[in-house]
Amino acid sequence: MDFLRPSTWDEALAAKAAHPDAVPIAGGTDVMVELNFDRRRPPALLDLTRVAPLTEWGTDGDLLRVGAGVSYRRIIEELGSRLPGLAMASRTVGSPQIRNRGTVGGNLGSASPAGDAHPPLLAAGALVELASVRGVRRVPVDGFFRGPKRSVLEPDELIAGFLVRPGGAQQFAKVGTRNAMVIAVCSFALSLSLETRSVGTGIGSAAPTPLRATEAEEFLSRELDWEARGPVPPSVAQRFGELVAAAASPIDDVRGTAAYRSHALSVLARRTLAWAWKGFREVGP
């Protein structure tokens, strides 16, 4: 097995171009599981931990740009107020030990339908920045996932980071078998922007890929009383929950039945809506 250790981003892209079958590794919390369990013997590993810019975050115009190598821990501690939905989801990723090493870039790279970072990125309308020696492209995250563990990432590309507009009210909720160390039975993220009067959603573990509930988003942005921030009528919350559940295409598996997942999604949708709207009403935009 080859082991490639670029120290700059350009070197990393060159290495990936030369070894398109090399598996990128940063925190290692996904790749190492596969290595240890012999599920995968890649011809080469591409260690990205020496590429400093990957672990940085900053602004890019009015967007926040977060490097693919920023750990969940840093998202929780450093970006909790700017990206509250993602920070909430990050608090539930694996264990604290995993959060100290694991990265959102890695979560995107694995493209698991159960990835905890995906719903809040979907809800926030994030862009994923993909780079290769051919150039850089920014892909809306809802177009990034192609299927279970598949994405639009080309063999010569690396995930550089993601961009997201900070602000608004964001919430995340997940249900699982245990109280902690939970692989989601299903999860849901909601983002409300007072400024643009828009609603964003993200669903996890309830379809072959993480996905948005676009009909639910449109419905809710129409129905919310953005002007006076009046209470959400129960019928609206109910309908929103139904539309979220309808957007998913869950299956029965060992963690839960499809019917349960649909039900739980509608509950999570109503809950996150109540929390987010309450935040607006109390704190303001």
């Binding site: 290692g28 821990r73 030990q97």
Partner: protein, 160 residues
């Protein structure tokens, strides 16, 4: 095979290992620092928890080469009041998960002291280390013998 240089418990160590070898395997099989345990090799049990620059990580999911130049602390290098508290409160039975529990608890106490919130934290800034906070923050370490109550009591005693 490139020579790997690791700084562990304040001492320099060398090992000749393939690049895909985990930090855990280097510790146990090359340096015979066997206090760090292998439970699942997939980051799901926490028995292999060590501290790197004071932060807890699972060493089974860490490539050893990524940790050159870092300060690694394993149970063999730990001298902390938690250890005796674990014995006094019987926060262990078979003892196999114990080194990981202790390293994890040390990392957890400093995370909490630095103000890091957990999934159990409701307020913006975490307050006292409540039993619920300890349970949540220690959930990356599984104890199949079920010594959780004693573990929580030991941590609570040392924290306060």
């Amino acid at each position: 095979m490139p020579e790997l240089r690791l700084r562990i418990n304040g001492e320099d160590h060398k090992a000749d290992v393939a690049p895909q070898v985990s930090l855990l395997d280097v510790l146990r099989e090359h340096l015979w620092l066997t206090g760090t345990k292998k439970g699942c090799d997939q980051g799901a049990c926490g028995a292999c928890t060590v501290l790197v620059d004071g932060r807890r990580i699972v060493s089974c999911l860490a490539l050893a080469v990524q940790y050159e130049g870092r300060e690694i602390t394993t149970i063999e290098g730990v001298d902390h009041p938690l250890q005796e508290a674990f014995v006094r409160h019987d926060g262990l039975q078979c003892g196999y998960c114990t080194p990981g529990q202790i390293c994890s608890a040390i990392g957890m106490l400093s995370e909490h002291a630095a103000g890091a919130p957990s999934a159990a934290t409701e307020a913006l800034a975490p307050e006292a280390l409540t039993p619920a906070e300890i349970r949540e923050r220690m959930s990356g370490n599984i104890c199949r013998c079920g010594a959780y109550n004693g573990i929580a009591e030991a941590i609570q005693e040392v924290a306060s």
